[in-house]
Symmetry: C2
Subunit: 387 residues, 2 copies
């Protein structure tokens, strides 16, 4: 019945699509920021001053680790972008274009991809032979500038990334009006969208005790097939490698709104350490989003540098570290949030001494379900994780 | 209630996991093939003959276009692989190993990834310093050999690929025992698994009139957001670029079992043509699977080489053809299933004359929802597609 009503409503909307969509508070706020940006140009012109924008600097030098909040945040440096400056005029124009594109999307209540935004804005500048954007990398960079300038998530500009990441477990949520029981989603699970703000995704009820986040979908499949989530009463997620914003944001919301601890099962290599670091402390490039993304209490469940010996893994499954691995491992050991932690120093040091890395998949050499039936249950029972 | 029973059952199974899983007919058949393969070695040994395997040749020379079936199929050439041949002994051993790995997976009723299979089988050969497989590319190739030798899909060997591709629309299916209403799956849709055989996925009911398959998830999102599937009563799918086997197999099953026509919205470039070609006629590398994958009646809905003019697209959205594009376009024009088709010759010829390609996303330059509200509805209404 509810469905029929919903369908009828959708069809009715389809019949007269020209009605202006109702905007929610978040949309109004973002729109307000964009309009303020544009008003700045008018004000400057009226005052006969050169219009400019102050774009917060997205650089390592403008990022710091906040020890009390325990995540990376941006400093206060800005780069001034002026219209009447030959080297800045184009990027000034591009910034305004991206803001106007976002305005159009929000007003029509539609979203698009980064590529869609590029095509939406790309045109030959009137009276010139120049293009607004030569390729997508140009508009992608400007989009990040607009995000930090407006202090708005990309998703709030109505831009989405590719869906990546899945979830399964004893939780019922509502996504775009559809009630979704994540314990009954078949073998593929719930596909985590890139926009998971409360306007789109609401948590309805759950009985989970924790979240197990694994690195790759192939490992996640093993956990799904073995019904790990059912036996251990948890939510299982993966992020398809480095988790995209949608996955990070959903984990953040589940952690803070539903009080669920987050355990991460990642590869024993610099990439796995880095994924953990980003989930926990935020990333340098998205430092302005840490407060909505970082989960400082997330735990690293494995794999560990001691596992080759502890689990008596065959030497055949070792993968030799290459020069990049060694360099990255040393960098990560020096991250401010790892440098004072003895267990992490020991962990990384041991990997360097081992001279090899280990993937979670390598545990299959101990048995197809070793990872779900022995490795992870043992780590959880012994509270044996890194923090 | 049904859910509680299912959960209780699953928990009960978890309590005593050592019971031998019941195998279905398909699993028994695959297992029979593997055992036959192994028996061949024993028989040869008893007859004091050299054991060998005949592996169907996976090469362009052993592939032909079957004009009456209208898809690519494999010829009868085989490569003999002998145990007592220095250059073939290792691959013989590897083939037997992969077969035994598949046997283990089937018997335990578990699946794994290609990488999982690699780790499952990788070890130092007893009494030697040699590894069974040096890297995953070796086991991946042998897995394809075993597939053709046993005439079994990779999925029947209990191996899966990464999930890619989503579906939304007025269809209810059952996936691994979970009933899934694909019209109520939120913004992410139903994540198409890599194994969609009837034992895993059953179609329950649907009211769809056709399937619209789009190339990329970002385009698919536009169609979902505009509720195209609701307005046009269709199933919407995407394959994340070149669709993986799970997506192809699901489209095939929906087309043949549910009588749904398949329309493909792909980029106006050699890659888009190629994706269509594979969906329609099968691929050279997976020619042995054409009968379960190819959809000779699939239609190419666009984008078309005439669209730049017909839709009055801005020259800014053109992407110049590079040398590889030109070469690929000429190759595709010469495919046996395209060479006699005037509309296709005209289409490809026009693209070469244009000197540029067009992505579906470029239609956004005509309006955010131009593709869903004008382009595709017009093509469908006019039955304006290529065959």
């Amino acid at each position: 019945m509810a469905k029929k009503t919903r369908r009828a409503a959708a069809t009715a909307t389809a019949a007269k699509p020209k009605t202006k969509p109702q905007l929610n508070e978040r949309q109004k706020k973002t729109l307000g920021g964009i309009i303020e940006l544009a008003d700045g140009v008018v004000t400057a012109a009226q005052k006969k001053k050169d219009p400019h924008l102050d774009v917060p600097a997205r650089a390592l030098s403008n990022v710091r680790f906040n020890k009390s909040k325990r995540f990376i945040e941006m400093g206060s440096s800005v780069n001034r972008r002026q219209l009447f400056n030959l080297s800045q005029a184009k990027s000034y124009m591009q910034t305004m274009l991206v803001a106007s594109g976002a305005k159009q999307l929000i007003e029509e209540n539609k979203t698009t991809s980064l590529r869609g935004m590029y095509y939406l804005l790309k045109h030959t500048i009137e009276g010139a032979k120049e293009e607004t954007f030569d390729d997508q990398s140009e508009s992608d960079t400007i989009i990040e500038d607009v995000e930090v300038t407006l202090n708005a998530l990309r998703e709030e500009l109505h831009l989405y990334a590719k869906n990546a990441g899945s979830l399964v477990g004893p939780i019922t949520l509502v996504d775009s009006g559809d009630e979704i029981d994540c314990s009954r989603m078949g073998s593929g699970g719930y596909s985590i969208p890139s926009i998971v703000e409360a306007e789109v995704v609401q948590f309805k009820k759950h009985t989970a005790k924790f979240i197990l986040h694994v690195e790759k979908d192939t490992v996640w499949r093993r956990f799904v097939e073995d019904k790990f989530w059912l036996k251990h009463n948890c939510i299982l997620t993966h992020g398809g490698g480095q988790p995209p914003r949608g996955v990070r944001r959903l984990l953040h919301r589940l952690h803070y709104e539903e009080n669920l601890p987050v355990y991460c099962l990642l590869d024993n290599d610099p990439w796995g350490y880095y994924i953990y670091s980003v989930l926990k402390q935020g990333s340098i490039n998205l430092a302005y989003e840490s407060k909505r993304m970082a989960i400082p209490d997330a735990k690293y469940l494995g794999l560990r540098s001691i596992d080759s010996e502890r689990c008596e893994l065959s030497p055949s499954v070792r993968i030799s570290l290459n020069d990049t691995d060694v360099k990255r491992a040393k960098q990560i050991a020096n991250y401010p949030w790892f440098v004072d932690k003895k267990p992490w120093q020991k962990e990384i040091d041991q990997m360097l001494k081992n001279g090899f890395k280990l993937e979670v998949e390598s545990l299959i050499s101990k048995g197809i379900s070793f990872v779900t039936e022995e490795y992870v249950p043992a780590r959880l029972a012994e509270k044996d994780w890194l923090d």
